[in-house]
């Protein structure tokens, strides 16, 4: 009996010990070994970034030259003034535009600069004096009767960030406040031309906000301009369908060096550019041009232009190593039998540039050479292509592709031509504003959607490098928003670019693929054959032990009673 008792006790101890081991050691071990490695992510900061409140600060300096203000009015200058406009785009996105205007009088050196005979020279000498920071606008108010600009010109926008504004009529009896409020209307016009416009910023936020009410023009602009990307590849191609008749020479290296590279250097803060060129022989346009008797030339109508690009694109090569978007610029020299070839627009008029472009793809220009040789010339004829004319067209198309918006200045405004760089500083500033906002919008949506994805799917592995990219993206984003608020446009663009790079790298990391879609019944199907045979004896013996213990307790009770 005692042996039986002992045996029973041993059995009980064994069962309890096994159950203890299974529960204390086994279950945590199984949990630990089947959990996926998930590095820590700053979820709270990411959810903060979800609602984006951007503040864009513009620094405006208004300089009064001699003769615009009376000495009475001049006493109160210098002063400054802040104007804030708020727009709530949708529940999660808000915009605040802060215009900080500082008024002062011109220094002696600036007065000397303004004494130049023409506005262009005045602009140049003003630029020699000081370098204005990125994103700022400087307005020089010149007397109403000044001869610096022609009579009907109200404002002359220079190549850099300065504008010469003819002062509106003031009365000497006005106080400074009245003068300034009168001037503010003109200054606002200037700022809306030279600095960002509300529509452009809203279009730049198109990643975050569904576009419902946009004008047709801004939608066309947003479709035409290529999306912000860390790098672009620009390819210049010369298409020669008739090498038997024409032997074409183009100095593409020199032309790129002289004309395109200055623009690309100026745009270096926005993206990296790589330029290459190629020559394709026996490449034909996919459309047959029609002969027009009235001008005795071949014409391509605007409708057939859409079908020109596809057959050619199949033959164009591209750099296989990078996944950057490609902008193609094609120069087509028609063959001798179909020369000259002109492009007609929708209203059947001739197009002076003889070129057309396709949004986000590139442009094609038709270059007629039939006038360069007579019928008696020896075939193939050596032809040197006039690169200045060609690059003029390509540069204009490149500007459109890269998102330099066409400005429609109000009446009385004269915009100085951009010069050798191809891009005025204030146009670059406009581009920088919209690019920074676009980058910030893209990076914030990427990060928030990535965080949402990783949160929802519990068994995606989050590696350390992904976590590091996410953290760096979050810090860059916060810096970019802060710099925008402070008005440092160049830094804001730099941080926003870093944020986009880091967030893209984190989102598109190859390790984040979840093939682990396990519906619950599959999970049961896997675990039951493994654990059920083991758990059933343990659970049953535990139950038996518990019932025996209860029995003994009841017996003891009965005995003691």
């Amino acid at each position: 009996m005692a042996a039986l008792q002992l045996e029973k006790q041993r059995v009980r101890n064994a069962v309890l010990a096994i159950a203890a081991v299974v529960i204390v050691v086994g279950i945590p071990l199984w949990w630990k070994t089947t959990e996926t490695y998930r590095a820590w992510l700053p979820y709270s900061e990411i959810s903060e970034l979800d609602s984006l409140q951007l503040q864009l600060s513009v620094d405006i300096e208004v300089v009064f030259s001699r003769g615009t203000l009376t000495p009475e009015q001049q006493k109160k200058v210098p002063l400054s003034h802040v104007n804030v406009k708020e727009h709530q785009i949708d529940a999660k996105t808000g915009l605040r535009y802060k215009y900080e205007t500082r008024y002062r009088t011109a220094t002696i050196m600036e007065e000397d600069a303004l004494n130049q005979p023409t506005a262009a020279e005045a602009d140049l000498s003003l630029h020699m004096l000081s370098e204005n920071s990125c994103g700022s606008v400087v307005v020089y108010v010149i007397p109403e009767s000044s001869a610096l600009m022609p009579e009907d010109v109200k404002a002359y926008v220079g190549q850099r960030r300065t504008v010469l504004l003819r002062s509106p009529p003031f009365r000497s009896s006005w106080s400074l406040k009245e003068v300034l409020s009168n001037l503010d209307v003109e200054v606002e016009q200037v700022v809306s031309t030279m600095s960002f416009g509300h529509q452009d910023i809203v279009a730049a936020l198109s990643n975050r906000v569904r576009m419902t009410k946009v004008t047709k023009e801004s939608m066309a602009d947003s479709m035409r301009a290529i999306k912000s990307s860390p790098g672009y590849e620009i390819t210049f191609s010369l298409l020669n369908p008739d090498p038997k008749s024409h032997s074409l020479h183009w100095d593409i290296e020199g032309a790129v060096q002289s004309y395109i590279q200055p623009l690309l250097n100026k745009l270096a803060p926005i993206a990296n550019f790589s330029v290459d060129s190629q020559i394709l022989y026996y490449a034909v346009l996919g459309v047959n041009p029609r002969f027009d008797n009235s001008v005795s030339a071949y014409t391509l109508s605007a409708d057939s232009l859409s079908h020109v690009i596809n057959p050619v694109e199949a033959r164009l090569g591209s750099n296989a190593a990078s996944s950057n978007p490609v902008l193609n610029f094609l120069l087509y020299v028609p063959d001798a039998h179909h020369s000259p070839l002109y492009i007609r627009d929708h209203s059947k008029r001739e197009v002076p540039s003889n070129a057309f472009h396709s949004p986000r793809w590139g442009g094609i220009m038709v270059y007629n050479v039939n006038e360069m040789y007579g019928p008696e010339a020896e075939r193939p004829v050596d032809i040197n292509i006039n690169m200045a004319k060609v690059m003029g067209v390509f540069l204009a198309q490149l500007r459109l592709m890269l998102g330099v918006q066409r400005t429609h200045p109000p009446t009385g405004f004269v915009l100085q031509s951009p010069g050798s760089a191809g891009l005025a500083d204030w146009e670059l500033d406009r581009l920088l504003w919209s690019r920074s906002v676009e980058n910030i919008a893209t990076a914030s949506t990427t990060i928030t959607s990535l965080a949402q994805l990783l949160d929802q799917i519990g068994n995606i592995v989050i590696n350390d490098n992904v976590a590091q990219q996410v953290s760096s993206a979050v810090t860059s984003l916060q810096s970019a928003v802060a710099e925008l608020e402070a008005g440092n446009l160049a830094f804001a663009l730099h941080y926003s670019r870093e944020a986009v790079l880091a967030s893209e790298r984190a989102f598109f990391d190859p390790s984040l693929l979840h093939l682990l879609y396990f519906p619950d019944d599959q999970k049961f199907a896997i675990y039951i054959p493994l654990f059920l045979p083991m758990c059933v004896p343990i659970v049953l013996s535990l139950l038996k032990t518990v019932s025996e213990a209860k029995q003994r307790l009841a017996d003891k009770q009965a005995k003691s009673d």
Binding site: G254, P325, A355, G392
Partner: protein
Amino acid sequence: MDYYNLMRIFAFIHLLVSIPHGYSNYVETKAGQFFSSGHTNNWAVLVCTSRFWFNYRHVANTLSVYRSVKRLGIPDSHIVLMLADDMACNYRNPKPATVFSHKNMELNVYGDDVEVDYRGYEVTVENFLRVLTGRLPPSTPRSKRLLSDDRSNILIYLTGHGGNGFLKFQDSEEISNMELADAFEQMWQKRRYNELLFIIDTCQGASMYERFYSPNLMALASSQVGEDSLSHQPDLAIGVHLMDKYTFYLLEFLEEVHPASQANMNDLFKVCPQSQCVSTPGHRTDLFQRDPGSVLITDFFGSVRKVEITKDTINLTSPVEPPIQRSGSGDIQIESLTYVDQLPVAEIIHQKPKQKDWHPPDGFILGLWTLILLVFFQTYGIKHLKHIF
């Protein structure tokens, strides 16, 4: 008489007045077309998921859609073609280098201009999802990537063997409709498409688009849940069925479409009614924002570019500078590059025999020795071993 003259003059004047108005309307509609679809480029992802010779028809299906898409203008650089097996060069193909889609070998869809991006065992669920979501390793070449942006219209065509809620890949794995819906949502989050047309030709194909929840998706399937998609005709010379019914009639429909055609999606929905297809094709348009009647076939199958005339040019006056010469070091020896010898005869002739690594004996040898030992011990018994040793 006067009255008639008056009427004629009136009508003439009216005509004169309305011509410019009508013309400006025409220009308006042309400009309107620029904005009607909102896409600037087209991509296509065409996937055949089954291997083995008797699944010839799936490869022929995919190649027919590839052919139509190329004919209507989408270039190879914008098409990701995934074929799970090579039928054209299969050793059972009596006509090598061809894949036919009509019996009596009327139409060879293989041609000589086919660019297959993922072939054979590279066609897996993982690679397909990686292509869609963009999570490819950095070393992947451009031709294997889907580099679409927020203004791309994408056509996705899947064919193979499927069931209720899944599609079989390579006879060993499957993709579920939930995974596909999640992949499309990932694409939407990153704005990797403007609009997406999803066509599937498998048994119970409609189940694959049931779970979609992202916007701007339109889906077509060859059969409803519970129905099988059937194949069309066998070719007695080749010995297998050449096409599936749905894709056969789809190809017939697409052969009539040319790049400037105005056929719209409602015509596509009518392709292969039950009388021809035996199964009932289905479609889903509730997630699509535009009305299907206004969506052109060429919006997805073709690549009609939006084009604008360049009006402004920049006046460049400075002359072209000669390119910067390399300064000084003209002594850089550039080695002349040559191709590697195709058949290095010298190396082969003078080759030393390779030192083979020692491997433990193979399974057969092991089994043989085990058998011998077993028989030995059976016969002699362990206890008697001491007599032998």
